[in-house]
């Protein structure tokens, strides 16, 4: 049944060398081009990145239609160029791990793994529960009733 996916996992393969993809994830000049989802901008001047453990990772997403702002403050936990980035959002307890895999042939797989539960809640029992994939569980729950 469930694969090894814990919590929320998003994976995508990009046609670019790993070093370049990694730079895109930590350099404001790149982040400003893609960080906001559709219809949302992330102005260059709102992006602060200090890519080292304990350094800040701050962004402000701005809705193009109505100007509403979504500031997100995070702190880097781990920065291992060019393969691994971990940051945590103190306000929400969300920890995001980005793993970059060199597929050869100038292609890179990016895997985003998010743990959205503060560590103090994560008993071994709870972790085992999450391995059944919270993502799939949500789809199931949405169908109930």
């Amino acid at each position: 049944m469930a694969d090894a996916a814990d919590e929320l996992v998003y994976t995508r393969v990009f046609d670019a060398p790993r070093e370049l993809v990694f730079r895109c994830l930590i350099e404001p000049e790149h982040l400003t081009h893609f960080w906001g989802p559709a219809g949302v901008s992330t102005p260059l001047e709102t992006i602060k990145v200090d890519a080292r453990p304990g350094g800040v990772f701050e962004t402000m997403m701005v809705n193009d239609a109505d100007g509403s702002q979504y500031p997100v403050r995070a702190v880097f936990v781990e920065v291992t160029e060019p393969e691994r980035l971990v940051w945590t959002e103190p306000d929400s307890g969300v920890t995001t791990t980005s793993t970059l895999r060199d597929l050869g042939d100038s292609r890179t797989e990016v895997r985003i793994h998010q743990v959205n539960v503060p560590a103090e809640y994560r008993s071994p029992e709870a972790q085992a529960g999450f391995r059944t994939s919270l993502d799939r569980f949500a789809a199931y729950l949405a169908k109930l009733g």
Binding site: L8, F14, D15, C24, F34, V117, P118, T132, D135, L144
Partner: protein, 119 residues
């Protein structure tokens, strides 16, 4: 309880298989503690502990005045958890789309400009 704390607590509550089974049962209708306990080889105090966790994060409510205090699933709390996950998935999907385009753009520019921005 703040909205974010409540959401965290909701995910923590749903991380447990027994509590998920209880939520699934309650999705079919209200149930008493005894009814909820029936499928599990667990003592009533054990069951009560799980119910307390579900109650604290707002996923279920219990009638205060009835003798058997049936448990009721609060769909809004469940919806907010499901909504958070769906919104999060949308953000990353669209972010990846944009990153894909951005990588194509800068790589086609790089070829004409050379390696001068590689520090």
């Amino acid at each position: 309880m703040t909205a974010q704390y409540r959401l965290d607590a909701t995910f923590a509550a749903l991380a447990d298989p027994t509590r998920r089974a209880m939520v699934e049962r309650l999705a079919r209708g209200d149930a008493t503690v005894n009814e909820l306990a029936a499928p599990f080889a667990m003592t009533l105090p054990g069951i009560s502990k799980h119910l307390k966790v579900l109650e604290q994060c707002g996923l279920i409510s219990r009638t205060r005045n009835a003798q058997f205090r049936p448990c009721h699933l609060e769909r809004a709390a469940l919806d907010s958890a499901v909504g958070w996950i769906e919104e999060n998935r949308r953000i990353w999907t669209e972010r990846f789309e944009k990153l894909d385009r951005h990588l194509r753009d800068i790589q086609s520019t790089d070829q004409t400009r050379g390696d001068d921005d590689r520090g």
